[in-house]
Amino acid sequence: GESVGLHLPTLSVQEGDNSIINCAYSNSASDYFIWYKQESGKGPQFIIDIRSNMDKRQGQRVTVLLNKTVKHLSLQIAATQPGDSAVYFCAENISPGGANNLFFGTGTRLTVIP
């Protein structure tokens, strides 16, 4: 039979433009968040993380913003390249103070148009 899967939100951007991927997280007690990139046939690849005592963190071409008031996380990718095409997941630590078990969001498929 046909399997039921998630309808991934999708984002298409022109090469060279900036991308913003959004994520709403569920647990107000979560204190650590990670963005992962997943290419087809591969495992989640770490991009950037942020702790709850910060509201912004920058990496190479990427910036993560955290708004704890509305439980929202975003990933900004500057000068998006074709190699950035992938599914992007936010993940939250659902066991603050305990084991670092991650709860993954639905994911957003980013397509970069050359």
Partner: protein, 114 residues
């Protein structure tokens, strides 16, 4: 750059059989994890492991599942009496510490139950 390696990349098994999925975590990491991703769905936490014992496990990780670190390098997931619904990608991850440290994932084992 050190990485998590998983074998086999694809495992096909008859329903009711036992399978063992293997992982070699990053060498200086102390915390190990298994996740699964059913086709088209979210990545789901199964179990975390530290100091030769399970730290936490999800509802998915029932008596059918077990984990083991048989030597200083391997970390295995055993699934007994496999069912059709066990078909999924299984990802191993490791982290250096438990708190506020990103988990690094392998590329997964695709398990197909016939």
């Amino acid at each position: 750059e050190p990485e998590v390696t998983q074998t086999p990349s694809h495992q096909v098994t008859q329903m009711g059989q036992e399978v063992i999925l293997r992982c070699v975590p990053i060498s200086n990491h102390l915390y190990f994890y298994w996740y699964r991703q059913i086709l088209g769905q979210k990545v789901e936490f199964l179990v975390s492991f530290y100091n030769n014992e399970i730290s936490e496990k999800s509802e998915i990780f029932d008596d059918q599942f077990s984990v083991e670190r048989p030597d200083g390098s391997n970390f295995t997931l055993k699934i007994r009496s496999t069912k059709l619904e066990d078909s999924a990608m299984y990802f191993c991850a490791s982290s250096e510490r438990v708190q506020d440290q990103p988990q690094h994932f392998g590329d997964g084992t695709r398990l197909s139950i016939l």
